[in-house]
């Protein structure tokens, strides 16, 4: 068992807006390109050009349909590590390789001590762990820990790659431990929710539900008197040009 540090005030995480996520995979691919040369590099690809291409991705986008007939909707759902406050993937780790940082709550894996037993991926109910078969170690979303504090990149770019690149502004990054942060306010305003809260892992990342639709109701149709010659109404219209 690996212990979880006492909860700190800071809980860095993502807020993902399912109202504007257009399922374009920009976040997933940009994550891949940043991280394949980043802190947990590389993110290998197996059978990259052959029969069964599959690799390590820290972020994946799924699509679902909900409802039937005219009521059905297509929903896109990006999935990555939720940096839970009580992560089973950490407590289950036999070597301490899987750990949660006290200072900001980010859940990481230390590749030097990971023995590749995969207990953490069995423990994670969100399927957010990715095994590097080639190196024999578990990998996962680092919340771009090599970007968010990086003094070598401009301050406005110090957010996870998925957030920086999202064309639909469906991803937000910040301190969910601070009730006054922009992300916390967003969660409050939009009634953001936890994924599978009943499991008790207290995910830090939040999802914003699709906004209610339609938000615009048409006025009543105008009553138009039946006129024998509809053109009459335009004959005397005072127009100028």
């Amino acid at each position: 068992m690996t212990a979880i540090p006492p909860p700190g005030g800071k809980k860095l995480g993502l807020v993902i807006d399912l109202d504007t996520c257009v399922g374009c995979h920009a976040c997933a691919v940009n994550c891949k390109e940043w991280n394949t040369s980043g802190h947990s590099a590389p993110l290998p690809d197996f059978d990259a050009y052959q029969a069964k291409p599959q690799g390590v991705w820290f972020n994946r986008v799924h699509s679902y349909e909900a409802g039937e007939g005219n009521d059905s909707r297509t929903v896109y759902f990006p999935r990555s590590c939720l940096h839970c406050e009580e992560p089973a993937c950490v407590t289950v780790c036999p070597t301490g390789a899987s750990y949660k940082r006290a200072e900001d709550g980010i859940v990481l894996v230390n590749p030097d001590t990971c023995i590749g037993c995969k207990l953490c991926s069995w423990a994670c109910p969100y399927g957010a762990r990715e095994f590097d078969e080639d190196a024999g170690v578990m990998k996962k979303c680092t919340l771009c820990i090599d970007r968010i504090y990086n003094t070598n990149i401009p301050e406005e770019d110090r957010v996870p790659a998925c957030v920086a690149t999202c064309p639909a502004q469906a991803r937000h990054f910040g301190d969910l431990g601070d009730p006054n942060s922009a992300v916390s306010r967003l969660v409050a305003e939009r009634e953001g929710y936890d994924l599978m809260p009943e499991l008790g892992y207290k995910p830090v990342n939040k999802y914003l539900p699709p906004r209610e639709r339609p938000r615009y109701a048409a006025p009543a149709e105008p009553a138009v008197e039946s006129v024998a010659n509809p053109f009459l109404r335009w004959i005397d219209r005072a127009l100028s040009r």
Binding site: A41, E221, P230
Partner: protein
């Protein structure tokens, strides 16, 4: 045992990202976003969106984010190749550039010295058409076009003839202000990031977004209201909205009177040669009827009180009616009533009426007022800019039907009736648009003579039958038969017809087919099996190939490579100079003109050359005028030299920024040898922000037109009057009725007369009118996945993990009724062929429509993928069941195109679905062998630019 752990890992929180940053322009799709490329030890470390760039403002889509894998693709060609086996066998030997260019020069020189039109030069997804088009002109062949004829020509042409701009490239919704967006048939790549960003803005503001699309994916998934319209009926839906708005008098008549040709008088003289043309004064100016003087006057006269309805008698006794009268008569007809169209469109009449009410409510009751005075071209000062905040956007779903031109015109008609053109909150022109209507020059192709350049550009915009490219005996001048009676307004050419026509020698045989960046032996062709056969076919009488020479330039090993004799390998987009030119399709925004360049981020590690350098060198070797100096030496050292120094007309060159010898001129000015350096310093783009008073009403904004003229964007400062009624169409119709020197042959008169209606019409997609409709009950269309640009994405190790095969998507209830279940293999059978696919069921699709992702299916071996790759093993191309020809109701064989513009009618396709017995893909073609220079790609990729190579 419990152990603390965090201390165990040492984390470098501030790694150096790379050792160099270079800005350039993305080319992972047609969107042309600005990118910031990080390099480490000469390798690509990271590509991100450029925050300062006007197109993407810092974001980058999934395609752009996969640029690293595109650049390092194992499908990259390495060296010029010469075919050594039979065409199609894929047997090549590597040759040196000098030999390759000598050979090309020999073939092309012979063509030019004998009959230049025997060169067909088609440049596919070319972003340098201002160069390639000019090269074709200087060579002297009319047979030039890029891929617009099978992409978006319906949109572009309908827009340019109607409002002087168009959806996508020449206009966009006012994302920051619009309150209501109607989107028709748009997939994610037209365009990519700006629409995604724009939709997010709409949703944050609570604006309403309505999507009409048979398929609920991508943007449609975000829609507040999704209407699963039947393919090809959008025009009917729109005209029902028009009917409702007219019926209830919810239109902006003041806007129409001031800014459109609603008040122009149309001569009513049935049977006469002037019937349906505008009444004009002695100077040729269109007339309106002034109710003050009760006399016709120049319609542009300020202060008149124009009549909008009625039948009036001109001083010469001819009768005439204002355009608005004709318009109202037509669309008030009951056949456009919502109840009359609902079933056909698959949208309830009540929904159509409600949408009309919503549009009118937003346009007229929720106006936007900006405290910004402006003055119109009539000299009237307006204290405010008043906006009608309804906007529209449309693309492939409209464009790829044989009724797409008129459907797109219908949407523009709707915009005009609502007064929602270039106002705050509505659709806006992207600079350098608007342009005068009709668009300026006609196509040029007559007078093609040995060793002689053409007097003008091959592609253009016909003003009437006199501009058609026909020999005196009526023979088409162009190999693709663009600008003939079959496709008079084929402003982008008809690339989809080139191979079939060249093979048949109809209208004539060609010698050399020179193509760039279009996969014409696979997903860019209708009926690719036939395309492959034709490319490899020999004339039994001579034993020679029917298309004697095929030259192809591409960066990658596509399915088309094996069908060429000579391969000129191009660079990747990160290894080249390029310009996104004001002369072609620049990246201007509604806030002002902009253009951009690409600069090489990396030097090629292969023996390849940028295609544009090849074009310039061939031009010099062929001694084409403009490509050589007086002494015969090359006029341009290379493409960057051309970009900076070429002037198309005095002061106008490929780029608008930093012109003039000191770099201070905007848009127009002398060539500046330092220009590219200035672009590089400015992150590879230039933009000019218009002053606030010029941001809206550009078609009639005096200050805007004055400055736009000074910048060389428009030829004069005249008001650009929006055209509800398009007179050039009537000129074609009059010819069909027997008037004028150039008339269609008798068998084509009825067709021209029918389709060339100067007011928008709806007609069923031509395929829907073919006999035995019951045998083909379903529509079949494709959608673009957001992470693939045509066939390019599958060679990308990352992108193919997202889609490595496609399925056939069917409405669950429709499939169930046919006894088809999820994962069944089925035959998709059309009038001309069949293809096998595996079924996925879904709810969000029009019940009479099946669909699949475009261009995922690959030929085995192509793109250097394993022969057992899912793309070829399980994927399929719908193209196999689309014919480039169709037999029409009158029995004539026509190209499968819009009869006005020649736009490829991909989405007219009708099919039936039958359960298949086996799971084996069909059709299957032999596995393509790997060309020389390419090596077997690795199974395991551990790309890490931070590690020493």
């Amino acid at each position: 045992m419990t152990r603390p752990s965090a201390a165990a890992e040492v984390i470098d929180l501030s790694p150096v990202v790379g050792d160099e940053v270079k800005y350039t322009t993305c080319y992972m799709c047609a969107c042309r976003c600005g990118i910031k490329v990080h390099l480490k030890d000469g390798r690509l470390r990271y590509i991100e969106g450029n925050r300062n760039h006007p197109v993407n403002k810092g974001v980058l889509c999934g395609k752009g984010s996969a640029g690293i894998m595109q650049h390092y693709s194992p499908a990259r060609l390495h060296k010029p190749l010469l075919r050594v086996g039979e065409r199609g066998a894929g047997e090549f030997k590597e040759i040196e550039w000098d030999e390759a260019l000598n050979l090309a020069t020999e073939w092309l020189g012979n063509v030019r010295a004998t009959d230049p039109k025997r060169l067909a030069f088609f440049t596919g997804r070319d972003q340098s058409q201002s160069l390639t088009g000019w090269w074709a002109k200087q060579f002297g062949t009319p047979n030039f076009a890029a891929h617009g004829g099978f992409c978006s020509v319906n949109m572009a042409t309908a827009g340019l003839y109607s409002i002087g701009g168009s959806f996508w490239e020449f206009g966009e919704p006012d994302w920051d202000r619009t309150k209501y967006l109607l989107m028709f048939g748009v997939a994610e790549d037209h365009d990519s990031n700006p629409i995604k960003t724009g939709l997010a803005k709409l949703k944050a503001r609570g604006a309403k977004f309505v999507s009409l699309n048979p398929v609920q994916t991508g943007y449609s998934a975000l829609a507040d209201e999704f209407l699963a319209i039947r393919p090809g009926t959008d025009g009917l839906f729109v005209l029902a909205l028009v009917h409702e708005l007219l019926r209830t008098d919810r239109i902006d008549l003041e806007f129409l009177a001031s800014y459109s040709n609603a008040i122009w008088l149309v001569i009513n003289n049935p049977g006469g040669s002037d019937d349906g043309l505008f009444a004009r004064d002695a100077d040729g100016k269109p007339l309106a009827w002034d109710r003050t003087t009760e006399a016709p006057v120049d319609a542009s006269t300020p202060g008149i009180r124009p009549a909008v309805v009625g039948t009036l008698t001109l001083p010469d006794g001819r009768r005439a009616r204002p355009v608005f009268q004709l318009l109202a008569e037509r669309y008030l007809d009951g056949k456009y009533a919502p109840d009359a169209v609902a079933e056909r469109c698959g949208i309830p009449a009540a929904t159509i009426r409600r949408i009309a009410t919503e549009l009118a409510d937003v346009a007229f009751n929720q106006t936007i007022e900006i405290d910004q005075p402006w003055t119109d071209t009539s000299g009237r000062r307006h204290e405010k800019m008043i906006g009608r905040p309804v906007s529209m956007h449309a693309m492939r779903g409209i464009s790829a039907h044989s009724n797409g031109f008129q459907t797109c015109r219908s949407i523009h008609l709707l915009q005009m009736l609502l007064g929602a053109i270039d106002t705050p909150g509505s659709w806006r022109y992207k600079s350098p648009y608007p342009k005068p209507i009709p668009p300026a020059a006609g196509p040029v192709g007559k007078g093609s003579n040995p060793n002689t350049m053409l007097p003008g550009m091959a592609l253009g915009f016909p003003q009437g039958p006199q501009d058609l490219l026909l020999e005196d005996d009526g023979t088409p001048i162009r190999i693709d038969k663009a600008f003939t009676w079959d496709a008079p307004l084929a402003a982008h050419g008809m690339m989809h017809m080139v191979i079939a026509n060249a093979w048949a020698g109809d209208p004539y045989k060609i010698d050399t087919l020179f193509m760039y960046m279009a996969n014409m032996a696979w997903n860019s062709s209708m009926n690719p099996g036939e395309s492959m056969r034709m490319l490899a076919d020999k004339d039994p009488a001579t034993g020679e190939y029917r298309i004697p020479h095929v030259i192809y330039s591409d960066a990658y090993f596509s399915e088309t490579v094996p069908y060429a004799d000579l391969i000129l390998p191009d660079t990747t987009y990160l290894e080249r100079w390029d310009c996104i030119s004001m002369l072609d399709r620049p990246i201007g925004s509604p806030d002002g003109p902009a253009d951009a360049i690409r600069q090489p981020v990396l030097a090629p590690d292969r023996d390849v050359r940028p295609f544009q350098d090849i074009v310039l060198e061939l031009g010099a070797r062929l001694q084409l005028p403009g490509f050589v100096k007086d002494d015969g030496s090359p006029a341009y050292r290379d493409y960057p030299d051309y970009i900076a120094n070429h002037e198309r007309t005095p002061g106008i060159g490929p780029l608008g920024g930093w012109r003039g010898t000191d770099g201070t001129a905007v848009g127009k000015g002398a060539a500046n040898p330092d220009q590219l350096a200035r672009y590089v310093d400015n992150q590879c783009f230039w933009r000019h922000r218009l002053p606030d008073e010029q941001l809206y009403f550009k078609h009639a904004n005096a200050a805007y037109l004055r400055d736009a003229h000074a910048m060389g964007l428009v030829p004069n400062t005249n008001q650009i009057v929006l055209q509800l009624y398009v007179e050039p169409l009537q000129r074609f119709r009059l010819a069909a009725e027997g008037h004028g020197p150039v008339q269609p042959p008798d068998e084509k008169r009825a067709r021209v007369r029918r389709y060339f209606d100067p007011l928008p019409i709806w007609y069923a997609p031509v395929e829907d009118t073919a006999p035995e409709q019951a045998a083909w009950p379903l529509h079949a269309i494709t959608q673009r996945p957001s992470i693939m640009y045509h066939s390019w994405g599958s060679q990308n190790a990352w992108l193919r993990q997202i889609y490595d095969r496609n399925h056939l998507y069917m409405n669950r209830r429709t499939a169930t009724a046919l006894g088809i279940a999820e994962d069944d293999f089925v035959w998709v059978i059309s009038r001309t062929g069949r293809v096998k696919g595996q079924v996925r069921l879904m709810e969000g699709v029009n019940p009479d429509t099946v669909w699949t992702w475009n261009a995922i299916g690959k030929r085995a071996g192509a793109w250097n993928l394993g022969a057992d790759a899912p793309e070829s093993r399980d994927g399929f191309l719908l193209n196999h069941v689309i014919s480039e020809f169709r037999k029409e109701a009158d029995g004539m064989l026509q190209s499968n195109s819009d009869p006005i513009t020649g736009q490829a009618a991909w989405y007219d396709l009708r099919v039936r679905i039958e359960k298949a017995d086996t799971a084996v893909a069909d059709p299957r073609y032999s596995t393509l062998p790997r060309p020389p220079g390419l090596t077997a790609p690795p199974h395991l990729l551990r790309f890490n630019a931070s590690e020493p190579a």
